[in-house]
């Protein structure tokens, strides 16, 4: 699998993501600095990792979404390249208009870092094939603004089209997100944003590998 990780100042889970992609695919991803306007040929996957791009100033992901590299990522997505945004990456995808809705401040108004349960609501996607439908997996979260919001019509569309891919399960919603939404995808099914951090749960040192399935699914698709 040929993958690439987007780098914007303030992102800080880039190293975690690069390590996870390397361990799962056996190949280190390329990196894409914020100013780049052309992408390497033949990419199967572009990942926007978590962190605090531009300090989360203004709105989470707002400034990063307007950096040149994101135009190239949007073009690649239009051509069908698989794009995954995790945490701040999800916020950036939303701010870039590549996913609908908005991610608001957690209802507790506090940063929250803990493990939650996720339901794989749609196991028939490029990102979730390795899971069973409605399987419950463990996954850590670490964010301040993960409270997903969408207008009622938009929400209906997301739910109706099976584009809510992950949901917080067993009363573990950590942020007040509407319909317990933890991850959604675009209409073509090649762009996924999710708040939790699967890259931090892929090996025994992490205390489990429930997050691996996402990377393995994408890998299987690429193969």
């Amino acid at each position: 699998m040929k993958s690439a990780v987007v780098l914007v100042p303030g992102l800080n889970r880039d190293r975690d993501m690069i390590a996870a992609l390397t361990k799962v695919s056996g190949q280190a991803p390329a990196t894409l600095w914020q100013t780049e306007t052309t992408l390497p040929e033949g990419l199967d996957l572009i990942v926007i990792p978590g962190g605090f791009s531009f300090g989360d100033y203004l709105r989470c992901g707002a400034i990063a979404a307007r950096m040149p590299v994101m135009r190239a990522v949007a073009d690649a997505a239009k051509r069908g390249v698989t794009v995954l945004g995790v945490c701040n990456g999800f916020q950036i995808l939303v701010e870039a208009g590549m996913l609908p809705g908005a991610l608001m401040r957690n209802t507790s108004l506090k940063f929250v870092c803990r493990e939650v349960k996720l339901q794989v609501t749609n196991a028939n996607t490029a990102f979730t094939r390795q899971y069973q439908p409605n399987q419950i997996i463990r996954c850590p979260v670490a964010h301040h603004d993960g409270n997903y919001f969408a207008e009622p019509e938009e929400l209906e569309r997301l739910e109706g089209e099976g584009r809510v891919v992950f949901r917080y399960a067993e009363n573990t919603n950590p942020n007040g997100s509407i319909n317990d939404i933890a991850g959604i995808m675009n209409a073509s099914g090649n762009v996924l944003g999710l708040m939790p951090h699967p890259e931090n749960l892929i090996e025994s040192a992490h205390g489990g590998d429930d997050g691996r399935g996402i990377f393995e699914s994408v890998l299987a698709k690429a193969a």
Partner: protein, 80 residues
């Protein structure tokens, strides 16, 4: 130099967790009869030049392209 203030507020109907929490906290502090608390942002900016109309048009562009998320937010501009 032209000074302007941009005010960005959440659209009606958009959930405002911060406003809600603040309303709750005001109640806890004993302030009664407070409702509808909504939190927004202001930006003070200074623009080179003296052409107010141009400055206002520029600031409108800044709002559309960066300062406001027009999916969930409204903005208004006031000039000195």
């Amino acid at each position: 130099m032209i000074k302007a203030r941009v005010t960005v507020t959440l659209k009606n109907g958009v959930l405002d967790p911060q406003g809600k929490a603040i309303e709750g906290a005001l109640g806890t502090l004993g302030f009664e009869g407070v409702s509808g608390v909504r939190q927004g942002k202001v930006f003070d900016v200074e623009i080179n030049g003296t052409d107010k109309a141009k400055a206002e048009a520029d600031i409108k562009q800044m709002c559309e392209r960066l300062l406001a998320n027009t999916v969930i937010e409204n903005y208004s501009i006031s000039m000195d």
